[in-house]
């Protein structure tokens, strides 16, 4: 399981970069799909905090998708991804 968790963290680093890039491009569908996947999978690798943080971003995007007022700024999503990344860094450092 330890090897599996390590592999997951390696993939996670790449994934978070990809999500941040997608966010910069304004490709929020990709961000939503990516965070949805992390929400479901991260806990299974032993990182429930990652799953939770990803789930919060997904929920923001879900609300945004149904809210025609479009009140949720991309800033907020970007901030969410930033905190996901710092969460990852603190785990990877440990």
């Amino acid at each position: 399981m330890a090897a599996l968790a390590e592999m997951f963290l390696q993939q996670l680093e790449v994934r978070i970069q990809e999500l941040r890039e997608a966010c910069r491009r304004g490709d929020l569908d990709t961000v939503r799909f990516g965070t949805h996947q992390l929400r479901g999978a991260a806990g299974g690798y032993g990182f429930p905090e990652i799953g939770k943080a990803a789930g919060e971003i997904e929920d923001l995007l879900r609300i945004r998708a149904t809210d025609t007022e479009d009140s949720m700024g991309e800033m907020e999503i970007s901030r969410g991804l930033e905190s996901l990344e710092s969460l990852f860094r603190s785990i990877a450092a440990a």
Binding site: L4, F8, Q37, G40, A41, G55
Partner: protein
């Protein structure tokens, strides 16, 4: 007869490669094959070709723009080929309402994501057990208890199928009906346990044919052997071999016991009344009757052919 002994198959349908990796890891020690599908279309196609025992289905599927997980579930359940699979659905966000909907659509269990490895494994094992029990029940309902041959109800259904295959592809199908001679006398003279062992012995002789033969216990001492792809002419050889083997059987401790059987054969071309399963049985029965009245221990084939005496 019955299903060959193979490892159970698990199919996971989930659009997340991270989950695939995790499932493969968690289930690697289970005595089952794991197959992974990344989307709805692929998942449904794999379910049809693999006929998995258990399906792990991500109900949140559809984020990727494909079919919704509930839609996949109802398609699996409404297709005869896949409807027997035990479906466990997985979700990271399912509400009570969604869980109820999944179970009502025919899933047998639900596992929340992120899943605990031990719980996931236990639920998969439980689903495999249920699947195994259902299969056993279905099998039992088709098998004759004394002989282990297919029973009458399976025979009827299977003969219908073979007859329509025969019509569709123009390949022959032949039916042999066999009846143990003077069976009542054997029972009266030697007792019912001996009668039963005669039936069992005959059943085992009937079962020694090709893999594709369908040996059935048709009634008390009457048996049916469906021979798909075989013409009446070759079926005569088959019946003749069985007849000879039975008459040469030795019955330890019952020196006076001599068991023979009579055989009636008809193929689809041999049925004059339109060629359905009922007519095929009637024609074979007619041939059997003629074998009996001609003195028993012989094989008769019905049709344009000359009735063949072989004893």
């Amino acid at each position: 007869m019955g299903e060959p002994d193979v490892r159970p198959r698990i199919l996971a349908i989930d659009d997340c490669p991270l989950v695939h990796q995790l499932l493969r890891h968690h289930l690697r020690h289970e005595s089952a094959e794991i197959h992974l599908a990344g989307g709805a279309t692929e998942g449904l196609a794999m379910a049809k070709s693999l006929r998995p025992d258990v399906v792990l289905l991500d109900i949140d599927l559809g984020e990727s723009g494909d079919l919704d997980g509930f839609e996949i579930l109802s398609r699996l359940k409404s297709d005869e080929v896949t409807s027997d699979a035990a479906v466990i659905f997985l979700s990271a966000s399912a509400s009570t309402e969604a869980r109820v909907r999944g179970l009502d659509l025919g899933a047998i269990d639900f596992v929340a994501k992120p899943f605990e490895a031990a719980e996931l494994r236990a639920r998969v094992r439980s689903a495999l057990r249920i699947r195994q029990l259902v299969r056993m029940l279905a099998q039992k309902a088709r098998i004759d208890g004394l002989t282990g041959l297919w029973n009458r109800s399976y025979f009827d259904r299977r003969l219908e199928e073979e007859v329509s295959e025969c019509r569709r592809y123009g390949r022959p199908v032949t039916l042999i009906l066999a009846d143990i001679d003077h069976f009542k006398r054997i029972n009266d003279e030697f007792g019912h346990p001996v009668g039963d062992s005669v039936i069992e012995r005959f059943a085992s002789i009937l079962s020694t044919g090709r893999q594709s033969d369908v040996p059935c216990r048709y009634g008390g001492e009457e048996f049916g052997l469906i021979l798909p792809g075989v013409s009446a002419a070759s079926a005569i050889e088959v019946a003749e071999r069985i007849r000879r083997r039975l008459s040469e059987e030795r019955w330890p401790g019952r020196d006076r016991l001599q068991v023979t059987a009579s055989f009636g054969i008809a193929d689809l071309d041999g049925c004059r009344s339109g060629g359905d399963a009922v007519a095929l049985v009637a024609a074979a029965d007619d041939a059997l009757y003629r074998a009996k009245s001609a003195g028993r221990d012989r094989v008769y084939a019905v049709a344009a052919r000359e009735p063949r005496r072989s004893a």
